[in-house]
């Protein structure tokens, strides 16, 4: 099946709900695994990579949870399809650059994704909307336990799962969540927060992982250390920090509304104004403004508008998704025009933002139970 037919339509994908999804956009747990007696993908010659791919791919396809999955080799995917997978956070940018000897298996629901011969022989990840780290870990743990019956993993009792990069050694686990933190950014509290999260041994990254900027006030928080701590302990640590981040973000929003409501509604109003009226707009500007609109939806400025509209546009306005809706090859300038057209059209039924009646400042805040 062609990949673009297989993928869930953005509208449907944006409607998926999860706990605390007002701030936590998604949760992910990734495991890195390698086969014994084979060089890591970065060092292996092509025939060896192909051999590994041919060994791993059928094993994954046979998993009960991967029934009806999409399975392909990276050289069989167009660069546009690969870019779309990156924009959906299903594969890494590194994996998108791969060709023959690398592969991908993705389940129907887009909740389980296996990258074969990325940096490691196997990188498997479970994705969930909202804050669901435990569930994601349980899902991927189960898949891994089934795979280990067939695949002979490289494992050492002292060092755990052996990975191409020593930074992933041990559990090979990366637990992460994608957070929307416009309140902390507007309140200029984001830098000290990032600093203190870093001190706890966790990494904070931009929207597309390693080395990317935080477009649209979206941040990824993940564990850095993988050796000397169990998976359960890492998940628990992340959960604790995320609960605090949610609380800090809600507090920042509450304080902003109390102390500087004009500043907040000014940002939201201007964001709406530009998005609803622009005739040319870059994807970066779109994301930053959509983030403010998303905040507006959270704060009740757009009664009757669901957050999924914003989340859908977040996805649809990115370069590859936009290109996919048009048959001819678009230049960046043409994309900016078509992007603006689409956003204007989609925002036509959305009325100008209102300043909601002064509710008690804490109303509607989403604070996790401690």
């Amino acid at each position: 099946m062609e990949l673009h037919v297989f993928l869930i339509p953005p509208a449907e994908s944006a409607r998926r709900k999860g706990p605390h999804d007002r701030i936590v956009m998604s949760s992910r747990v990734r495991l890195a695994r390698n086969l014994k007696d084979a060089a890591f993908p970065g060092w292996a010659k092509k025939p060896e990579r192909v051999r590994v791919l041919e060994m791993i791919r059928p094993t994954i396809e046979a998993l009960p949870e991967m029934k009806g999955a999409f399975s392909g080799t990276m050289d069989g995917l167009s660069s546009l399809d690969k870019q779309i997978l990156v924009e959906r956070h299903l594969i890494s940018r590194e994996h998108a650059a791969k060709s023959a000897g690398s592969g991908l298996v993705l389940n129907r629901e887009e909740t389980l994704c296996f990258m074969i011969n990325e940096e490691d022989h196997l990188r498997m990840q479970a994705l969930r909307p909202g804050l669901q780290l435990r569930q994601a870990w349980a899902t991927i743990d189960q898949a891994d336990s089934t795979l280990e019956k067939t695949l002979n993993y490289a494992f050492s009792p002292e060092l755990g799962y052996l990975t191409a990069c020593p930074t992933n050694l041990g559990t090979g686990i990366r637990v992460s969540a994608m957070l929307h933190l416009p309140g902390l950014v507007l309140a200029e509290q984001i830098n000290p927060i990032i600093q203190s999260v870093n001190k706890l041994g966790l990494a904070v990254r931009g929207l597309y992982g390693e080395g990317t900027e935080a477009l649209g006030n979206v941040f990824q928080v993940s564990n850095q250390m993988t050796l000397g701590e169990s998976e359960g302990a890492i998940v628990e640590r992340l959960e604790k920090v995320l609960a605090q981040l949610i609380e800090h973000e809600e507090n920042a929003r509450g304080t902003l509304l109390e102390k500087k409501p004009k500043m907040v509604y000014n940002h939201i109003g201007r964001a709406y104004g530009i998005l609803a009226n622009a005739h040319s707009i870059s994807s970066k500007e779109t994301m930053n403004l959509l983030s403010l609109m998303r905040l507006g939806v959270d704060l009740g400025s757009f009664p009757g508008v669901d957050r999924s509209l914003v989340d859908e546009l977040f996805m649809l306005t990115q370069p590859a998704h936009l290109q996919k809706q048009h048959s001819e090859k678009l230049s960046a300038e043409e994309r900016d025009l078509l992007r603006a057209d689409m956003v204007r059209e989609r925002l036509r039924p959305v009325s100008r933002p209102v300043v909601p009646p002064a509710a008690s400042p804490g109303a509607g805040l989403d604070k996790p139970a401690k």
């Binding site: 060089a39 891994d144 041990g170 931009g206 390693e210 080395g211 900027e213 169990s230």
Partner: protein
Amino acid sequence: MLCCICKEKEATVHLTQIAGDKMQKVDLCEECAKTKGVNDPTGFSLADLLLGLGASQEIEQAGGVTGLKCPACGFTQADFKKAGRLGCPECYQTFAEPLEGLLKTMHKGTRHAGKVPESLRQNRDLCDRLLLLQKKLNKAIEQEDFEKAAVLRDEIKQTTSRGTTPTAR
């Protein structure tokens, strides 16, 4: 341009980071870039970069003069310095010494504390059990309790044959 930390040496590491609508530029000399490490107040992606820088230097120092080479895949220490990644699972044995210090700075501990593949878990249990049975057998022989020794011998035989099945794949 001078390093924005020590304000003495020439800055050779230039980093830009955008958070929200704020752009931050940091210009560091090599030494300050190294010492700043993970706790760099200006950032996250920066932290990774700096961690990487420190790592390769550490490896170089720990490796000393002799260049190691993995017998399984031919990967050398120079390759590791260049790529920051290893060649094959066997490399962890080959480069165990230079890696030790690196792992200490990089991770919470140096011993795996997480999941263990089921087959190895069973094996480990079997090994423990065999050791125990062997001890009992030795004791039985010592005490000339041959009846008991025979029972234990059979049990060991059984356990051993069970143990070979999961590892044979």
